[in-house]
């Protein structure tokens, strides 16, 4: 993880939820920013990569640690 990584702490977020929190971050921050989304919802491990692919950003990693799903994404455009 680089020091530039922006943590998006979306644990316990049902609305807007982890993916919407990531989209918010991607809208706000410059190209090149790396985000690490923290989610307590198993669905995020699937939802987030699916959107990242459609939107043309880059999935860096997708892991689970102690029940928290951590997904790293780079904004590339």
């Amino acid at each position: 993880m680089t020091s530039e990584t922006k943590i998006v702490d979306a644990r316990g977020s049902y609305c807007p939820g982890p993916l919407m929190e990531l989209i918010k971050g991607i809208r706000q921050e410059p190209v090149g920013t790396v985000f690490e989304v923290w989610s307590s919802d198993r669905g995020s491990a699937k939802d987030i990569p699916e959107w990242v692919k459609r939107a043309g950003h880059e999935l860096l990693s997708n892991v689970e640690e102690d029940g928290i799903y951590k997904v790293q994404v780079k904004k590339v455009k």
Partner: protein
């Protein structure tokens, strides 16, 4: 004397001020505590009415009260725009240069739609998230001759259920005017129809029954007002006859001028204590926080209970340890004179409730009872 300053006299700021004034009555009367609300306008605006204004079911006067009347008589009200918060001086600096010093600051400045962030949206789209926008949309609906009404949702935005409610209500509105053949196309940024799963499942069931079209994974990138098309960042282009957009929202400029917000103007806030990160004499509530929870009046309401409890406790020598559990409660208008509701917190996911006409009546009643809630009574 302890000076408590509330920046923003909307839902959150007014509720905290009134709860403090009631419960610290003795301290205020003795001159030990002073409570000051700073609000840009002399009015208090109940924003949920904007949705009804678009359908000519409410007018601006229904949504407005004099903020002085909403506030407890022991609360001081300063009307004017705050220029910035000066943390070194522990004061709010007004645009006319007046300094309002604080011992505790509560920030409840809300959020604002920022259509200017999407090229072409201001020219090509309608929004009902402001009074002015709702009235323009009302006129456009009155003149609508048929075709496609396209609803788009950008992130982040306040009141997460309003886009869905609008779509249901506009379908009814069209049908009642003999425009069954007009299309309502609802789009949403993620892979289902709403971020709340039970709401998404319910919408997926009733949309086809009610003749509402939908498209998911649709994040608006730009609008072409001449050709009447919207292009998404996922690469799809859709045409419209009337575009009703929920623009992305940002925090208020006063937050940015004060250097308190992130890139979107949202204030980093502790999700439990509601203290601004790195400041133990500043609390933040309502839309202004960076928390991953719904930007809704009900959120501000539950947070107000925690902020007031902590301030009262600290003024009386306590540590201010009450915690916000992430609670949110929302009514959802389902069209056809029915409504439902949903509640959840950081630990408990939402559970679906079947819509009923009774909940709809309760929501209509709540619109009138809101003023008691803002007064800190309900």
């Amino acid at each position: 004397m302890t000076r408590i300053v509330l920046l923003g006299g909307g839902v959150g700021g007014s509720m905290v001020a009134n709860q403090l004034a009631r419960q610290l009555k003795a301290e205020v009367l003795h001159g030990d505590v002073e409570i000051t609300v700073i609000n840009q306008t002399p009015d208090h605006v109940y924003q949920p009415y904007f949705l009804y204004m678009a359908f000519d079911q409410a007018v601006p006067a229904d949504a407005r009260r004099d903020e002085r009347q909403v506030l407890h008589s022991q609360v001081r009200l300063v009307v004017g725009e705050a220029d910035r918060v000066d943390r070194d001086a522990s004061a709010v600096i007004m645009q006319d240069g007046t300094k309002i010093p604080y011992d505790f600051l509560v920030i409840a400045t809300g959020s604002r739609p920022a259509p200017e962030q999407i090229p072409g949206l201001t020219e090509g789209g309608h929004i009902f998230y402001t009074e002015e926008g709702a009235l323009k949309l009302r006129d456009a609906l009155q003149n609508f001759q048929g075709g496609r009404i396209l609803v788009t949702v950008s992130v982040p935005h306040k009141c997460p259920v309003a886009p869905l409610e609008f779509s249901m209500m506009v379908r009814d509105w069209l049908n009642q005017r003999g425009m069954e053949s007009a299309e309502v196309l609802y789009t949403y940024p993620i892979g289902r129809l709403h971020s709340l799963e039970p709401v998404a499942e319910w919408a997926a069931r009733v949309f086809p029954e009610r003749n509402i079209q939908s498209q998911v994974f649709f994040n608006v990138e730009s609008v072409d007002p001449e050709n009447h098309t919207v292009t998404s960042l996922e690469g799809d282009t859709v045409s419209y006859d009337l575009l009703v957009a929920i623009p992305p929202h940002v925090g208020q400029t006063v937050i940015q001028r004060s250097g308190l917000g992130d890139a979107g103007g949202w204030i980093p806030t502790d999700r439990y204590s509601l203290e601004m990160v790195g400041a133990d004499n500043i609390y933040v509530l309502g839309d202004a926080t960076n928390l991953p929870i719904s930007k809704a009046g009900s959120t501000a309401h539950f947070e107000a209970d925690v902020v007031s409890a902590n301030l009262i406790n600290r003024i009386r020598g306590g540590k201010g340890s009450a915690r916000y559990d992430g609670k949110v409660f929302c009514f959802i208008e389902a069209g056809a004179d029915e409504a439902t509701y949903i509640k959840f917190d950081y630990q408990h996911p939402p559970k679906p409730q079947p819509p009923s006409s009774m909940i709809h009546l309760y929501k209509l009643a709540f619109n009138k009872m809101y003023w008691l809630s803002a007064a800190g009574i309900l």
